[in-house]
Symmetry: C2
Subunit: 216 residues, 2 copies
Amino acid sequence: MQPISSSLLLEALNWRYATKKFDRTKKLPTATWAALEQALVLAPSSFGLQPWKFIVVQDAAVRQALSAASWGQTQPLDCSQFVVFAGRKNLDAAQIDRFLDRTIEVRGGNKAALADYRAIMVGSVEKARAGGYLDGWQSRQVYIALGQLLTAAALLRIDACPMEGLDPAEYDKILKLAGTDYTTLCACAIGYRADDDKYATLPKVRYKAAEVVTHI
Amino acid sequence: MQPISSSLLLEALNWRYATKKFDRTKKLPTATWAALEQALVLAPSSFGLQPWKFIVVQDAAVRQALSAASWGQTQPLDCSQFVVFAGRKNLDAAQIDRFLDRTIEVRGGNKAALADYRAIMVGSVEKARAGGYLDGWQSRQVYIALGQLLTAAALLRIDACPMEGLDPAEYDKILKLAGTDYTTLCACAIGYRADDDKYATLPKVRYKAAEVVTHI
């Protein structure tokens, strides 16, 4: 298969914007949403540990509660798919063993052959725990998945609104994450922009490349 | 212009992997790298504040030093472009004003009309500082850019290796970030896989969708 062109890529990335008003009458074709969901599943992460849960909320009452927990923003109500990104807290050796079990399931081999690899991962995780940056490190991985979803959606010409303007503790309660090993980090509404979303036509505000990119 | 197909998207995401061995004889066409650099510039972030610097390191001696500061991994030496992702520390009102100045430059308007918006941003930043999560919040944004770069590269059929196995303090010294408002978070090598990179043919290890995606 062929790569896409650079111009197609940049056209899509310039087309996208954080959609404020979705057209609630338009829903994604099932296959299109399935592809975006798979883009989440395929997202890379440190050591491949996938320290996340993606919660796709379609229930109207739950969406209403999430909207209220998002300063009343309406994207959770009007979008086609509403995804909450939860990150793993207190990652531990059991999660690493779960990942290695999956590795063996997919690639074959056995635990003994992966013992050195396991030791490296456990060592990194325990060092991070001792240093107080374990959850911070893992939570950053979740944003790789968010970035992958946003880029993928733009290329499929699907609108999206990444959202951090929400109360994570309230979200955790509503989604029954409270007391579990996962906690809400952010969300993303997916769907189609309303014809009258005034934000759609505003020029994108980005610093000049020379201000954010340095060449050495 | 047309959206890409879902199957093209998924083919690209399945094609990509964390490249361990680059073909050092192959370099990206200038226009292709320019597009990927622009994908970084266009990455979304919370409030659009773009709390990052992307440092593209082409100098051989600096790359040698970065390889040494990355447990001797060879991707910094063999790739076509080596990008270090630095995140903004202690984001403050001055940065918000810089962003608003750019907003006015791009969209017109004036500072007085943006006063309420400014107050919301400053309020969020100061709340985060008081809560001790300001740098953590901002650093997560940088991983949206990393995700966007990885997805974009895959669609252009360009190989990449996201790297966290590095010593950020050493990187900061080498790149003269020490003492500035920016600090190294991660890096990404970009280029072409070597024909004999054994990792290229290993099946991708991801949890089954049902283990990471929940539907409510």
